[in-house]
Symmetry: C2
Subunit: 303 residues, 2 copies
């Protein structure tokens, strides 16, 4: 549909796990003549240079987006508005702005008002990641067999949407178009609340008396391990997700705490039948996840 | 210290993930001249025979434990009392009874009263497992680099304890002696409450309207995946754990729900600083878990 390279210049704003993985894919699959990586810190830019992830590295946002055909925000969601405000005067007519944030309605609210009419906004969210952060943690197979949800507003230029979809397909991902609000509800229950709970449970353990705390680490293989992995995710990114998807998170968390109370009552009453019934029902969901091929942990060792 | 094979006859009562893994280890490391596997269902015994996991298979508990030097209960905790009552008359003087259950004080309460004076009870709990169940799911490296906690009462024959420790060391595990009540508190926070929460969150998702439910499965790679894995664990085994470790589970769950309320308030107030502080703190725990080597998921592919 489009001829490679799809873009003459792609600017990636931020070079963490997702941004650096995306730049690896763009290079490998020859999706752009030039890659510009913009980051705030010298340390990040030095690593990007060392890993040869960009043709141009810069701390200057205006310079980074000038002449870019595609700008992808790969920063925590919390800085989107500031970025949009600063970069908008430099965006060229016909260019596409996209992002990889885990919250979409808020992304639209923060970015869209600053974009000129001829600039196309195609918000995106790759459902992929690991607990690691930073440019070194990226790898070019991160998006393989994962979903990327795009949430363009109605009336968005179809050509721009298709080009972003094609980019992600070249990364090995499947794409789905979804309403931003609906995306935020789905992600609240599949991702945001699970992370919130993992952070909480690991936090609860760190508050235990010292002896117990040491043993919690020692015997983590019993289930706790998986929660510590989730609770090792980037603190700033997750802080921003909870701030920007507050309502959906509170709704789903409300449902969850009701269900915790129910199960707590089963335990208090030693209601074996009710417990077994629930535990058998949840097992079915795991089967569905495996059938959908979404059970495999991402790993750079697939290279 | 002991000469191999340590035992003339070992009887394994139950042949699920743990029992069948243990029989594989016993065979591989030549730890017993004979292995008897006792199970309730023909289907299980047929698989045990097919996989060549035992010298003798039987449904007759009395027959299984007769002449055994070591009897290991590998069933859900809920049937311990019934098993102890039925097998005790057939246990030979000087024999050792052990188990692999995840709850230890209750195990002692259910088994000890039925054992004659010359029979040694060395309760055990390997901190190892996967979400899979049944004799086919076992593998002989399951216990490698894992901890096995033993909770013998004071006054238990030291030779019996040492022999059980040596058995687990031959399986590649490290052993630790602990008070049963303390074990139950440690496991409540590292294992039982995490499982309870995973069951709940997956349950909450199954109660969503159908469209949302389908999407929860589709986009499970965003965090939910790990919870579905935990919530796929054996329903009967887990039902029994919650019934038999009720008090410690309720105590730890009480602490957790308080902490969930706190985090819920941070989200409601968009208290970014408090969230970031907590999420940074939990990240440290992950580092400790990795340093302790307890972060690696068990996999039969290590063979």
């Amino acid at each position: 549909m489009f001829q490679k390279p799809f873009f003459n210049r792609i600017a990636l704003i931020g070079a963490g796990l997702i941004g650096s993985s995306l730049s690896r894919v763009i290079k490998k699959k020859n999706l752009s003549n030039e890659i510009v990586v913009c980051a705030r810190r010298d340390e990040t830019l030095n690593i990007v240079k060392k890993l040869d992830l960009a043709h141009i590295v810069t701390k200057d946002l205006t310079f980074a987006v000038t002449d870019a055909d595609l700008v992808v925000l790969c920063t925590p969601v919390g800085v989107y508005e500031a970025l949009a405000k600063r970069m908008s005067p430099a965006l060229k007519q016909g260019s596409i702005v996209s992002d990889v944030g885990s919250v979409k309605q808020s992304a639209i609210n923060m970015v869209k008002p600053y974009l000129a009419d001829g600039v196309h906004f195609v918000p995106g969210h790759p459902i992929a990641g690991t607990e690691n952060s930073g440019p070194e943690s990226g790898f070019d197979t991160l998006f393989e067999n994962r979903w990327v949800i795009l949430t363009p507003e109605s009336g968005t230029d179809q050509n721009a949407i298709s080009k972003v979809e094609e980019l992600w397909r070249c990364a090995g991902a499947k794409t789905e178009i979804m309403d931003a609000k609906h995306h935020d509800r789905v992600l609240a229950i599949t991702s945001h609340v699970p992370h919130l709970i993992a952070y909480t449970i690991v936090g609860t353990a760190t508050d235990l008396e010292d002896r117990l705390k040491a043993e919690v680490v020692k015997f983590a293989a019993s289930g706790f391990r998986d929660f510590t992995r989730i609770a090792a995710s980037d603190p700033v990114m997750w802080r921003d997700i909870f701030v920007h998807n507050r309502n959906a998170v509170l709704e789903m968390l409300g449902r969850l705490t009701e269900d915790i109370s129910t199960l707590q009552r089963y335990v208090r009453d030693s209601d074996a039948d009710k417990m077994e019934e629930l535990f058998s029902r949840t097992r079915e969901i795991r089967r569905s996840v495996i059938e959908a091929g979404q059970h495999i942990l991402p790993s750079p060792s697939k290279d």
